[in-house]
């Protein structure tokens, strides 16, 4: 409850700081920044949801900064490769990272050794969007609600499996958190990304899956998949009919988020300039419209709020990862 209210406040704060920026001109004036193109590193493959968010935002940031913000995909090691590249980059604001819940909360907890420190090695710029996850099942599975699914899983423990986009991903952890909070048993079947997993759920090879809402929303609308519930605290605006998992399993909440980070040591005025550009991009009605169609919620934040958000997310996931005993090399 607290966290989502906080993010609502972030949105408000971002809106206010934007209004101030428009009224007074850029409040933080970083001399001459930017005087050349900026690289936004996306630590995942092109075409995924993080990539789409990055490209939409980068486009609008370019307009405001007067320099091109180009998106570079450095995929690998669950996002760690790209994140590590930015952590080691020159702290001048010309290399920034499109971070996610994976790079800044989950990977450091799951991996025995992470090459970077999610808090110390980055200068937070701005939280951008929050993307709900969704619990989906094949329509042939005889359940229509979360409660019925829990009952089915309890009646036949060990019979059912659930698919995810891979080991240690936010979607895998959404499943593990569900198992521990609802007290049910399901075998985890990891795939290489959401696409092939979704394929197998549609074909009923695996009956249950946790997915990002944007990637399965088309299937939920047409009924090729049954959406049982979203994983956020509140219902998703794009699916007002669909309940939340928390309505049946009290306290359950997961979501994916995207935020911009610069390397630690980037001058505060440069970070402030980038924060203003990100805020303006998010305030653009066309961007908001695209994000809503995409089932993402525009949030925005100050650098300090993003720092606090990362700390809170790490605190939230630490016990989940420990209880689920997920530990990768």
């Amino acid at each position: 409850m607290r966290r989502l209210h906080l993010t609502r406040r972030h949105a408000l704060a971002a809106g206010l700081s934007l209004a101030a920026a428009l009224a007074l001109g850029s409040p933080a004036h970083a001399d001459g920044f930017p005087d050349r193109q900026i690289t936004m590193v996306v630590p995942f493959a092109a075409g995924g949801s993080t990539d789409v968010v990055a490209r939409i935002v980068a486009q609008k940031m370019s307009d405001d900064l007067g320099q091109q913000v180009i998106v570079q995909n450095v995929a690998g090691a669950g996002g760690n490769l790209g994140a590590d590249n930015v952590a080691r980059a020159e702290p001048d604001g010309y290399t920034i990272l499109m971070g996610t819940v994976a790079t800044h909360a989950l990977n450091p907890l799951i991996l025995k050794s992470t090459p970077y420190d999610a808090e110390k090695d980055f200068a937070p710029i701005s939280l951008l969007v929050v993307v709900p996850n969704v619990l989906i099942v094949n329509p042939e599975l005889p359940v229509k609600t979360v409660a019925e699914l829990v009952a089915l899983l309890k009646a036949e423990p060990g019979k059912y499996s659930y698919a995810s986009s891979g080991n240690g991903t936010p979607l895998h952890l959404s499943g593990e958190l569900f198992k521990s909070m609802a007290g049910v048993e399901m075998e985890h079947i990891p795939y290489k990304g959401s696409g092939p997993a979704l394929n197998d759920v549609i074909g009923n090879q695996v009956p249950i899956m946790f997915d990002n809402l944007p990637s399965s929303s088309g299937h939920i609308k047409t009924g090729t998949l049954r959406g049982l519930a979203v994983t956020t605290k509140e219902r998703a605006p794009s699916f007002p009919e669909m309940p939340t998992v928390g309505e049946s399993v009290p306290g359950y909440e997961t979501y994916t988020w995207n935020a911009l980070f610069a390397p630690a040591g980037t001058p505060p005025e440069v970070v402030a300039r980038l924060n203003v550009a990100a805020g303006k991009a998010l305030a653009d009605p066309a961007v908001a419209e695209r994000m809503t169609e995409f089932s993402a919620t525009v949030v925005g934040s100050t650098p300090e709020e993003l720092a606090a958000h990362v700390k809170a997310e790490i605190a939230k996931w630490t016990p989940v990862v420990r209880d689920a005993k997920i530990q990768l090399d």
Binding site: V74, I202, L328, D329
Partner: protein, 501 residues
């Protein structure tokens, strides 16, 4: 007839002057990047994504699709001329296409590739239009057990890819399988054989390995001596296929189209697998299997048709389910989302002009490609008259840029260098690189699906024979094995290879 009205809508959409222009831009760009070794459609489409933001959704998707199948056409050009597969799926074309070029028949090989591709493109486009929805239903019946059995068929048949010692071919397949294991184990997250290098956590890059073992190894071999270096310059004769060539390409093109259309629907490297499968089949049914590896026309016509057909039908899961079959399709999904279209089964009903427009544009694009490429063949062949000491540094430079552009990963370049030397060594040992690549592609899929099937069946191996599609595929694999080792066939095979030596 609903189909005709749909197709009419599609052609009306695709034939608008604006969409024709974007289709042309797409296929031109695709041909260009296909010709440049290593620079793939994935990197190009990724770079162009921001531009598509300003276009109409249907125009941008038509252009991106054009880049994709244009690259399939272009990729075969470098594979044939300089043994450098510009696209991973043209790796197979390099085997016989390059040998044809060395015999002075580069023009014929290029024409055969272009015409075969056009035929396959036409047929598979109509397949997409007619059967997209029922074919999707079949593809969805493929679970982990079925994929595993399909991979077994692929591996068993791969022995036929070799045109030398069976033992060496098996060794190459095994080596390929092992190389395919490099990377993170998806079930436990444990890095395997990465030498502690994080850049290899997602495995070796296929393009890097293919460019290395085929292209760089060939350059090294060519640099060995003056004689072989100039071999291509002298004997360029006959740009066009002869009547005899046409007669001999007809059946392989038909079979290649069928194989490609079927395998393209399945996610995960369908077009590459299709090209390999077609080559295997052609060699198996040929009355002159000894020609394969020395410039067999069927060895170019079949795989080229198969990979182009596969490229077209891989749009089926994208259009009907919104599920990408390969990285390029994943980018198309991204492009749709940026345009505000939620990919999924509702695209066909909610956006009929977009859905049918893309399908119609595929055929128009294929027509443009063949019109564009046939006159260019003369020009491409002239490229071969460029002195090799000028040509090879240019090739190396483009390769490096291309491979790097895929993931911005410098370790991919180290892989190119390593596999270049390894490929050279293999040539010296008279081992074939093609089975190695097949093992490399199939290995990870084989393992992933074997383990997934076993987890799903809770450790019960009978899952592979109690599921009908899986059981059928395993029977086919068994049949192939029996045929290979049947005494009469074996005798013929040995006879064939004795002739060769």
């Amino acid at each position: 007839m609903e189909l005709f009205s749909n197709l009419a809508l599609g052609f009306a959409t695709a034939a608008s002057p604006e969409n024709l222009l974007f289709c042309l831009i797409g296929v031109l760009l695709g041909t260009l990047i296909g010709v440049l070794p290593g620079i793939g459609a994935t990197a190009t489409i990724a770079m162009l994504l921001p531009i598509t933001f300003q276009l109409e959704p249907v125009s941008s998707l038509i252009m991106l699709a054009g880049i994709y199948y244009g690259a399939q056409y272009g990729g075969s050009t470098t594979a044939i001329l300089i043994n450098m597969p510009g696209e991973s799926s043209s790796a197979v074309t390099a085997i016989d296409g390059y040998q044809m070029a060395r015999k002075g028949r580069a023009g014929a090989a290029l024409s055969i590739a272009a015409l075969g591709s056009f035929f396959a493109g036409t047929v598979s486009t109509f397949l997409v239009a007619l059967f997209a929805i029922p074919l999707t239903a079949i593809a969805l019946k493929f679970g982990a057990a079925e994929y595993f059995s399909l991979m077994i068929v692929g591996l068993v048949s791969s022995v036929a890819l070799a045109h030398g010692s069976v033992v060496k071919a098996l060794a190459m397949v095994a080596l390929g399988l092992l190389l395919g294991l490099v990377g993170t184990d998806i079930y436990t997250g444990t890095p395997r054989f990465t030498l502690g290098i994080r850049e290899y956590a997602d495995g070796l890059n296929f393009v890097a390995v293919a460019v290395g073992v085929f292209g760089i190894a060939e350059i090294l071999r060519n640099l060995e001596g003056e004689k072989t270096r100039s071999v291509l310059v002298h004997k360029v004769s006959g740009l066009w296929p002869t009547r005899e060539d046409f007669r001999r390409m007809a059946a392989p093109v038909l079979r290649g189209t069928a194989i490609g259309s079927a395998l393209g629907i399945l996610p995960g490297g369908g077009a590459i697998l299709a090209a390999f499968a077609s080559y295997t089949v052609e060699k198996r049914v040929s009355d002159k299997p000894e020609e394969f590896g020395h410039g067999a026309i069927a060895g170019v016509a079949g795989p080229e048709s198969a990979n182009n057909a596969g490229a077209q039908t891989s749009f089926i899961p994208l259009l009907t389910l919104g599920i990408p079959a390969n990285p390029v399709m994943a980018l198309m999904v991204g492009a749709m989302i940026i345009q505000g279209i939620v990919p999924g089964p509702n695209v066909a009903s909610e956006q009929p002009a977009l859905f049918w427009g893309i399908i119609a544009s595929m055929w128009i694009g294929n027509l443009m490609l063949v019109v564009l490429n046939l006159p260019l063949i003369g020009l491409w062949v002239k490229l071969l008259t460029i002195p090799y000491y000028v040509l090879f540094p240019i090739i190396m430079a483009f390769c490096s840029i291309g491979v790097y552009s895929v993931n911005s990963n410098v370790y991919d370049l180290y892989a190119v260098a390593f596999f270049g030397f390894a490929g050279y060594l293999l040539v010296k040992l008279r081992c074939e690189p093609a089975p190695l690549l097949l093992g490399f592609v199939l290995g990870p899929l084989l393992e992933e699906n074997l383990r997934r099937a076993m987890i799903l069946s809770r450790g019960d191996p009978t899952t592979f024979i109690t599921r009908p599609i899986s059981a059928t595929l395993l029977l086919i694999a068994l049949a192939v094995l029996v045929v290979v080792f049947l005494p009469s066939v074996r005798a013929k095979r040995e006879e064939v290879f004795q002739e060769e030596d």
